[in-house]
Amino acid sequence: MSVEAPPRPAPPPAQPSAPRRVGALLLHWWRRLTAMRTAIILLFLLALAAVPGSLLPQRALSQNKVNTYLTDHPTLGPVLDRLYLFDVFTSPWFAAVYLLLFVSLIGCVLPRALEHFRAMRAAPPPAPRHLLRLPDSGQLDTSLAGPQALDVVEEELRVRRFRVVRREGELSAEKGYLKETGNLLFHLSLVAMLLGLAGGKLWGYEGSILVTEGQGFCNAFQQYDTYSSGPLVKSSDLTPLCIDLDQFTAKYEQNLTAASFTADIRYGAPGKDGVPTTIGVNEPLRVDGDRVYVTGHGYSPTFSVTTADGKKYDGLSVPFLPTNTQTMASEGALKLPDVGTAGDDQLALQGFFAPTGVVQNKILTSIDPRPLDPQVAIFIYQGYLGLDSGIPQSVYSLDQSQIDRGRLTKVAAANLKVGQSTKLPDGTTVGFTGYKEFASLQLSHDPGQVWVLWSAISLLTGLLGMLLLRRERVFARVATDPGSGGTVLTLASLTRGSGESAPRFAALKDHLADALADRTPHSPEDRPRAC
């Protein structure tokens, strides 16, 4: 087409209608989006977009770390937060990248799948006119007549599982359709996997709870310490399941490496006798699409309180959270709003638990995660705890504002071994009576994960087929040699998916030469040589 202006101004072409123009534009962008180059760029964007998710703290992993980061970076933090950089994998821009990538993928793969489906039903294409121009080609001489020579070639190719079509004086063969099938399977499995992931996010839920030995919980959101659930989960959908923790056991190697954590539990529908079983690290309970995990453990020290007027409270126990998983040194608080006589006479303990304690300079430390010599270092407070003030409090620490305000005052401090006790100024006795173990349990429900697993398996199958198989076409044509009156067999092949087609083609040609020679009624010395 010429780029110069036509000699006479042609009448302006009729302006295409607006919908048509929009359609053309959309088609243009669709082609752009589904082009391989775009897909590669989107792949890189996806990789790049995931990077901040590993370098910055993420809410999904640890809300605490995000809070710390926000307090440490008061100016930068909120800006990053507005850019969703603490929720990278649920952010709109991350979703935009992968959705575009998947649209591009579908736009590329679906037409290919249709084309492949047609190709699988169609015969291999006719041989190109100039066979010797193909990258792998060569000629063989034989004394067999043309059709007989092609018979030999056809037989040899069929043994090699080629699909062969004979046409007048020529032959086309193809194999390796499964390579393209694998390619399509791989890409469609990615789509299936995304759908499985999305389903799991929409209909899945997860709750965590600390359970002390002898206690239990039922699968209901209000029972969990923390939970998260997909937008389509209704409270009534939760499996009716109750778990009781009978015993928790931690085993250690000689060098104090944790060897195993197991929890003896009973599970079953509410109100029924539970089925006893043992779960542990790497061995969750799987029941009716729900899984129950042991995700952590710790100690709940037990205290007894005897007030001055002789009232005795026994077995007061609360989980202390481990601050060091090597030594299981733990911290926590015990709030006793009902122990005192009046509203402003409540009692509370805050302190430190060491399963194997050592006191140096009046400071208690833990040296072993096993409960060989349990000790506590506690501060005892009296006053108003502020529990009914309406402001939520952590169960693991006292409300510092009550202490600052002077409503809650420290009345004693003590390091206690099991069986020891300390006396408060008002005559109350606080004793350390022992400990129980608690387990952090997590119940998870993800209806999508089986889909994701099957997608992953078919993805890998497709990948192996795509990368390991070869798509190969072989063409052959016969012509009479005007000189000798024999037949000249021209062979050529086209290979996709392998860089080293030349040696394989040479081997095929040698085999064909041998096969042709075997059918020729001649002594072996007269074998036609491969050229």
Binding site: M36, R37, A39, I40, L43, F44, L46, A47, A50, V51, G53, S54, L55, Q58, A60, L61, V88, F89, P135, L197, E206, E253, N255, T257, A258, A259, S260, F261, G280, V281, N282, E283, P284, R291, Y293, T295, Q442, S444, D446, Q449, V452, L453, A456, I457, L459, L460, L463, L464, L467, G499, E500, A502
Partner: protein, 317 residues
């Protein structure tokens, strides 16, 4: 043999391996130094160029060849002592010898060297890669010995699963293969620039670059190893997800290690696509593969040592 002396033997074998590989590096250098310059400058390989250029034999004189054999011999003995490091560690601790970063990294480097040896035996023309594989290997082993060393000990509870054998083994193999692939792509970048300059009429050099395998051969090594490594890496990630479902309560949680495994997977997927896409073939694709190697190394070092995630058990305190 008692566990302590086995562990000590493992540590001695580590030092012996480093020494053997270092000697192999010296021998590879000697091979390059004494080998004759290729008599013929390989043709520039453009689109659709014949494969012939890549099969151009690199001519050595006899002395160079003898050094090459010495280097290969040292490398193979090194591989044996290197495997011995892991075997004695495994016997000393009565478990698979990849429970911490020292063992994981040592095993990864072993896979890289084995992958190179397999290539060198099958395609002698590629033995010239030796220096460029073994020099980083020696460096890596020295750094591993200095900074990652962990005494032999039992595994923490979370790692006591048969998935350790499946997930970590395939991750090590995948990483080792990607390592060779990345090195081949880096060398391709160097060599193809050299070949382009020759094509522009510049005089051929006598340096190391002139003795590298032809660019097209390097590109093919990089691609074939990546094609081999990609399904293995995919499997390692899937196996990791299955293990995570049993150990951590979810199959995927964007833990830093998971995130970087995903990033590496996406980058290698990009490489395999780039190599078959017009406009990306050749040097751009090789750059993508190089980025892949950087991501893998970053994933091994940074994620385990700096960031805190569920994979940070790796024996560094």
């Amino acid at each position: 043999m008692p566990a302590d002396s086995l562990a000590a033997l493992s540590d001695s074998l580590f030092s012996i391996t480093v020494a053997l590989y270092s000697l192999a590096v010296v021998a590879f250098c000697a091979q390059l130094a004494f080998g004759r310059r290729p008599a013929r400058i390989p043709e520039l390989v453009g689109a659709g160029a014949p494969v012939a250029a890549t099969q151009e034999p690199v001519a050595d004189d006899r002395r160079g060849r003898r050094w090459g054999l010495v280097a290969m011999g040292l490398t193979i003995v090194g591989v044996l002592t290197h495997a011995g490091v892991l075997v004695t560690r495994g016997l000393a601790t009565d478990r698979l010898p990849w429970g911490n970063m020292y063992e994981f990294a040592t095993a990864t480097v072993l896979v890289a060297v084995v992958a190179y040896v397999v290539f060198a035996v099958r395609a002698p023309a590629l033995r010239h890669l030796g220096l460029f594989v073994l020099a980083p290997v020696v460096l890596a082993l020295v750094l591993i010995g200095l900074f990652l060393y962990a005494t032999a000990g039992p595994l923490v509870a979370a790692l006591r699963s048969y998935w350790l054998a499946i997930h970590v083994t395939t991750a090590i193999i995948g990483f080792g293969i990607f390592f060779v692939s990345g090195i081949a792509s880096i060398m391709y970048l160097v060599r193809s620039r050299y070949e382009a300059r020759i094509a522009d009429g510049e005089a051929p050099q006598t340096g190391v670059v002139a003795k590298l395998p032809a660019a097209a051969a390097l590109d093919r090594v990089a691609h074939r190893t990546a094609v081999f490594g990609f399904p293995i890496w995919t499997f390692a990630v899937i196996a990791g997800a299955i293990w995570a479902e049993a150990a951590w309560g979810r199959f995927w949680g964007w833990d830093p290690k998971e995130t970087w495994a995903f990033i590496a997977w996406v980058v290698y997927a990009g490489y395999l696509h780039a190599r078959t896409t017009a406009g990306w073939r050749g040097r751009p694709a090789a750059w993508v593969n190089t980025v892949g190697l950087v991501v893998m190394i970053f994933n091994l070092l940074f994620v385990n040592m700096v960031s805190t995630g569920l994979h940070s058990y790796a024996g560094l305190n």
